[in-house]
Symmetry: C2
Subunit: 177 residues, 2 copies
DNA sequence: GTCTATAATTTGATAGAC
DNA sequence: GTCTATCAAATTATAGAC
């Protein structure tokens, strides 16, 4: 991936996480990156393309930094603990919602390609968690536990984001096991 | 409240719940209600005013339909069960996110008055749940349980909304007690 | 209360030079 | 790859007639 394209994706990620898909423009991005809006269109022809690319970029970055649950277990680490920490870091360091949590909330008003990539985030995360819970306590109920954990984390982010305090996040996620 | 104002609020609620605060315009509202956009401005001078009014309208409608937890207990009903059902109805009947859940996710990009009314939703709902849990099992830990339940419900809505299926909602909220 | 008309700005997108 | 220039449409908002 091009350096400029990464700059654009980073700027777009920041802006979408601030106010959603409709809260950024090609000019906003261009100003932040230091080029003109026509040049942004060269890299991502339409806004829909850029939106879909940002969602995919975020999903890869998030799960990539985490590693596979099987690897974590081999390294003697608790995958669920690592997963919760990844969400908490996203909230504490960036002071922002999960990008795909926000897009998931807005999904009924998004263009098709963005919808598709947003769904991929949820599917891949549910798969990751299901594998983690299967490793931990066997296959029985792993899928349900995965949904519960993902829902609780996304919801804890919303409540903390809305009220502007991270204590609510910690209070909410302490029931995850 | 005026009939026309209620029509406007209802239209705005539907549109915000579809794609967020930036996904509706005064013309969209006007078309749906059957007047001109200038007339919408007569009722709600700015978009910020309308956004804040919609959030307050939604909060009142949601908690009003539910009733107070103390009343529910007297009537022999389980307040927490009733609360979960209210969320499920919002998802199943309207096929849409919680309005304030969506605004809470977007909050860092919203104008001040909308931010204020969105926070009121979360504060009033946490207060409602805290009272319900206090009635149920005493004051100890009631606040934490309230945060956990609200977070799980908002997150379950996001996951179900994003993947377009209500089974995930049911799988997630079954751990609420 | 609702209308017409319109101002001022922003937006997504394209053509074509360099 | 990036630029200038530009377009058509949409957006929030206001003035003033009825």
């Amino acid at each position: 991936m091009d350096n400029k394209e990464q700059d654009i994706l980073r700027a777009a990620e920041r802006m979408v996480r601030e106010g959603g898909y409709n809260a950024f423009s090609f000019r906003d991005i261009a100003n932040e990156v230091g080029i003109r809006s026509a040049s942004v269109h060269y890299h991502f022809p339409t806004k829909e393309d850029l939106g879909a690319a940002v969602a995919a970029y975020y999903t890869d970055k998030f799960l990539g930094a985490l590693g596979e649950p099987e690897e974590l277990v081999i390294a003697g680490k608790d995958p669920i603990k690592a997963y919760v920490k990844a969400f908490r870091d996203a909230l504490a360091k960036d002071k922002r919602m999960c990008l795909c949590g926000l897009l998931g909330a807005e999904i009924n008003g998004l263009p098709p390609k963005v919808v598709g990539e947003t769904r991929v985030f949820f599917e891949r995360n549910l798969d990751w968690l299901t594998r983690a819970y299967t490793l931990q306590k066997g296959e029985k109920g792993a899928k349900d536990k995965a949904v519960q954990t993902l829902a609780l984390l996304e919801g804890a982010m919303i409540v903390s984001n809305a009220l502007g305090n991270n204590e609510n996040f910690d209070a909410a996620v302490q029931i995850i096991s």
